[in-house]
């Protein structure tokens, strides 16, 4: 089964073709991502109207390129999968309507994919991970621990009370004058900085549960910076290192709690199954989303996963940030189960993962 994926929910215009074999393994046939980062950098973040304007002008060309890269015509695909939300609605509409048009003209089924489900299922394409597994989804718009019980079956074990982790990185970078997007800049400078120089508060550490809170940390970073302003290069590197070290410690603490919750029958899933196919009986922690590209975070997660008897699976960096491969793959996973959508399906700016199951039951 070959699926065309379309992703336009933020500032990447993307299309990809992915094949899903009958044994559940997959293969990427093409993967085109056109980033708009430069168009938004001057504004210090993604401007929804600018993003939507770029998507509508670029998307058909990006899709044509993905088809050509895969050496396929539209007759050669089995379905069209497009992100239907959550995300910036102007861009989502462009991708979803384009997907509907292609599905109608090519007489193929349409799969309206939840962008978060795309991130959630990527590890099944890259590492053939079996259900259930624990997912940490960390991006500019989301920070959550989710028990992934199956396609369309998600239980939220923790989320952010205020800012998403990627948002916290961007805001920290902005106040340090590091430009947008901020995550990679903080990570680069943190390598040269002294993480112990600025003791910052570590929100929620030691508390029960797997929720995050980052807005207080951002304020503390600002106060620490203003106290010693004007900042030298060394100060900025030390602040970046202190911030990143604090964040990774918070994630370590929260991840340990999430892993305990995932394994506990009181959370409703009955704990991990008696026999997990594939990787023996070891439960899996999957990290996904743009912030999963951060190497310090990956190292910390690997460490805390081992300490709790989990193995960590982190998809390749290219598939952590927004892409259409994950949308095509999620579309294929849904289509195999007979799940597809009509031409009247709506775009949704908000669309929590855990709501997917209810819709199927309805």
């Amino acid at each position: 089964m070959i699926v065309l994926g379309i992703e336009t929910s933020c500032d990447e215009t993307a299309a990809a073709l992915v094949e899903r074999r009958p044994d559940g393994t997959g293969r990427i046939l093409s993967d085109v991502v056109l980033s708009q980062t430069d168009a938004h950098a001057v504004f210090g973040g993604v401007v929804p109207e600018i993003a939507a304007r770029a998507h509508v002008e670029m998307l058909d060309g990006v899709i044509a390129r993905a088809m050509a890269d895969a050496g396929l015509g539209f007759a050669g695909i089995d379905a069209v999968a497009a992100t239907a939300g959550p995300g910036l609605i102007g861009g989502v509409l462009v991708g979803l309507v384009t997907g509907k048009a292609i599905a109608l003209a090519a007489q193929k089924p349409l799969v309206a994919v939840n962008h978060l489900e795309g991130h959630a299922l990527t590890a099944r394409l890259t590492d053939h991970v079996a259900f259930p597994y624990l997912l940490l989804l960390v991006s500019g718009g989301h920070s959550q621990f989710v028990a992934v019980d199956g396609v369309g079956r998600y239980r939220r074990l923790g989320g952010t009370i205020d800012d998403a982790l990627g948002e916290a990185f961007d805001k920290a970078a902005k106040l340090l004058g590091l430009g947008y997007p901020g995550g990679p800049q903080i990570e680069r400078l943190a390598r040269e900085g002294a993480a112990a120089r600025f003791p910052l508060p570590r929100p929620l550490i030691g508390r029960p549960g797997a929720d995050f809170s980052f807005s207080g940390l951002k304020t503390a970073l600002r106060l620490a910076a203003e106290e010693i302003a004007p900042l030298s290069d060394r100060d900025v590197a030390d602040l970046a290192a202190s911030f990143q070290a604090t964040v990774t410690e918070v994630v370590r603490d929260r991840a340990a709690n999430a892993m305990r919750a995932f394994s506990s029958p009181v959370y409703g899933g009955g704990g991990p199954p008696k026999a997990v196919e594939g990787a023996g009986a070891m439960p899996t922690l999957v990290v996904a989303g743009g912030v999963a590209a951060n190497q310090a975070l990956r190292a910390t997660l690997d460490d805390v996963a081992r300490a709790n008897g989990f193995r960590l699976v982190a998809p390749p960096l290219r598939l952590c940030s927004d892409n259409a491969v994950m949308i095509a793959w999620a579309g294929a996973e849904r289509l195999v189960l007979g799940l597809h959508d009509g031409l009247a399906t709506p775009a949704r700016p908000r669309w929590p993962l855990e709501s997917l199951r209810r819709e199927e039951a309805a």
């Binding site: 001057v42 504004f43 210090g44 973040g45 401007v47 109207e49 600018i50 939507a52 304007r53 998507h55 509508v56 002008e57 998307l59 058909d60 899709i63 044509a64 539209f74 609605i89 102007g90 509409l93 462009v94 991708g95 979803l96 309507v97 384009t98 997907g99 509907k100 048009a101 292609i102 109608l104 003209a105 090519a106 902005k174 106040l175 340090l176 004058g177 600002r222 910076a225 203003e226 302003a229 004007p230 900042l231 030298s232 100060d235 900025v236 031409l343 009247a344 399906t345 709506p346 775009a347």
Partner: protein, 220 residues
């Protein structure tokens, strides 16, 4: 010529197919929700006309001015259909289509097509009696739109009353629509030159965005 035309610029969601076994036209005034409605209407109109997408010679779409989101829905749909069918997409301006339907109604008269653009502004474009444009579409205050009224020119479009009031004289108004008549879009698309590039939305206004005021802490 076999044509599919799409308009999602304003309150109406309209589809028309020409050149099939029967002319097929559908129009629903929905205000919002074009992205949900449009593709089902296209499918039904094509069926009614007895045409497959591969049979079409071109697809026409209204490019603007209009609701930013609405314009993108129509253009994304047209370009998506064309990508599969390998046919050109012709862009038709909203104001040109409003002037065309005005001429259909009032005969060969010069027309100033005007749409209420809100924020005390008017989208305006002037057309000669033969339908050829006399300039570019613009967004201007009503008084400036009134100054575009040439000799014998009549008004058409949702901004007509505002422009007539600003003109301070009794200019004839042919219609007061904002959404074009899809039959007018089909007529214009049939005679339009072959496009050299796929159409883009004609917004006439920049995106509402300002570079963020710097929140950075002072650097040495």
């Amino acid at each position: 010529m076999r044509l599919l035309a799409i308009d999602t610029a304003y309150e109406a969601c309209s589809v028309g197919v020409a050149g099939g076994r029967a002319p097929a036209v559908a129009r629903e005034v929905i205000g919002r929700g074009h992205a949900e409605k449009l593709m089902g209407m296209v499918e039904a109109a094509m069926r009614e006309a007895g045409l497959a997408f591969a049979d079409l010679d071109r697809i026409a779409v209204v490019t603007g001015p209009g609701s930013f989101t609405g314009l993108r829905v129509g253009i994304a749909a047209a370009r998506g259909l064309a990508l599969v069918s390998r046919i050109p997409v012709v862009g038709i301006g909203t104001l040109a289509a409003l002037a065309e339907s005005a001429r259909e109604e009032a005969g060969a008269v010069p027309v100033l097509a005007v749409i209420d653009a809100r924020r005390d502004e008017i989208y305006a474009e002037a057309f000669a009696a033969d339908g050829s444009p006399l300039g570019e579409p613009v967004v201007v205050p009503a008084r400036a739109a009134a100054a575009m009224l040439g000799p014998g020119m009549q008004l058409a479009g949702s901004g007509s009353d505002l422009v007539r009031a600003a003109a301070g004289r009794d200019v004839p108004v042919i219609h007061r629509d904002a959404s074009p008549d899809i039959a007018a879009v089909l007529r214009l698309a049939e005679v339009a030159p072959a496009p050299v590039a796929p159409p883009k939305p004609l917004y006439l206004r920049p995106p509402d965005a300002k570079p963020q005021a710097s929140a950075r802490v002072a650097r040495r």
